[in-house]
Symmetry: none
Subunit: 330 residues, 2 copies
Amino acid sequence: MADTSAKRLLDSDKTGEPAPDVKRGKTDNENGREDGNESVQENVLSGFKTSSVLSDSAREKNIFIHGKVADQDAVVILEKTPIREDSLAELFSGSTLKLEMKNDIYSTYRLQAPPHLNEIKTTLVCPATEKHIKKYQRKESFLVEETEADYKNITLPHIVKQSFSVQWVYNILEKKAEAERIVYEDPDPDVGFVLLPDFKWDQKQVDDLYLIAIAHQRDIKSLRDLTSEHVPLLQNIFQKGKEAILQRYNLPASKLRVYLHYQPSYYHLHVHFTKLGYDAPGCGVERAHLIADVIQNLQSDPQYYKTRTLYFPLRADDGLLSKFKEAGRL
Amino acid sequence: MADTSAKRLLDSDKTGEPAPDVKRGKTDNENGREDGNESVQENVLSGFKTSSVLSDSAREKNIFIHGKVADQDAVVILEKTPIREDSLAELFSGSTLKLEMKNDIYSTYRLQAPPHLNEIKTTLVCPATEKHIKKYQRKESFLVEETEADYKNITLPHIVKQSFSVQWVYNILEKKAEAERIVYEDPDPDVGFVLLPDFKWDQKQVDDLYLIAIAHQRDIKSLRDLTSEHVPLLQNIFQKGKEAILQRYNLPASKLRVYLHYQPSYYHLHVHFTKLGYDAPGCGVERAHLIADVIQNLQSDPQYYKTRTLYFPLRADDGLLSKFKEAGRL
């Protein structure tokens, strides 16, 4: 189960780019809990010993580090937070500016901000297994072509053999975990789902809105399992998900990109809701499938996703890629 | 024609994301000057009055702001700095951690770092002209749903009325321009094409490889015009394009993302070849269509793209968006 939970964190890794896969926390309503733990937790990383940088992104301002916490293997993920409009006034008045360059109408500075206005999201995985460490390592991706036969002969046996646990998904569906994070739920066993923020989103601004709808139905592994009988489920998730996001975040459907991944990170049907214009990891055409297209395709061909050749990227260290190579399919 | 060339250069603008146009300053060698100016410059932004946020990126952690400095129009650009490996030890030992969430082996924190280890690059343009302000403004995008009827009633009349010139495309096909940039050509009038680097690619490294294949056939405006009769053309572009890229750049097909845009930037059939793993502008699922999928869809339904509802983003300033709004379709 630990390994599979890791898969959840690694949702976008198959794109070949280390994602800003930082678990994001709650905000105001958790202050009590937070404060209670603060003194205990303050020093957790003070003795962190870095072994190696697994990957980093200068563009996204994040870094994935392997190291030790009190002799245990750990992975630490740091990512700077987006700049918030509502903190600008305090940022300008409360910071120190160091001039770097002045030329005509242009000048550049290094701004040193009050720490509480310039936090760094930090995720600690401890103890981390070899698999965690490998997963966060920067890895090349390859585009794989999967025919109907390839799915039956290569991909499906691999999924079954790995028997990835989705216990953490069931915990959410059964309210055993993260119940307070749920944004919307339709409890219907056939077409129902739970909508909650993705860990990649800190919920402080809608610019990078990212929610996940998890179906209550437990027997749909991925896009490949979908037939026309699932159209009502998909339509329900699409429609009610959009409505819930409009109500909660005041973001209309015309500002949303709603899609499934293939391959998914975990084999329980889920749908991604991200803000249009936010370059969300994994929203590229090589991995994402718009739910509106999926619905249309199933309506005109009930077996569309069972029979089609599908294309997707796999990282160099993905076990499934080795299986495709062994089968001479790459 | 000027307008159309402009459209070509603006190929990616429909994604609605501003580029990280941040001027960068110098560092160490400027310390003397910096110290000299420090006291004077410290307060430049303390009285900054924000008029509006022109654009920002939650992914890249930057923000472009229009406002006033001492009654003068100004643009301020803030961008958080990448996390540096050489400051990690000090960052871990010198920061405060606030626990947000703990679940099994995962925990998340807000890290408050010493200001000098967590600077924000700041660029001031002052006085700024109207042109500066416009340049940094985000053009918002909206997702449009285009049915078969919408295409006939809204989009096609708009394309025809605008009569966008593609003379520059004909110049390439006829070797009147850019002949020396051609990477490969198949001169066949039916299935032939010209392959050349996109303007966005400087050709200095294959990491961000970006080529365009332009069909010799002149009567195909876009994806909407494609039927099964065009499958040989698409297959030829796909196959020979991949071969040419392997030969010239030593990049195999498994490292390529090959797709069409809808809406395209110009209404003459062309195909994008970009490197897998390079986050090319316009490769998102909301605008890109894998050529391999297009071929399959046309093979099973010759009228697939004539009849399907298609989804695409349009920028707020796109004339076509106004037409959809006037028709009550947004």
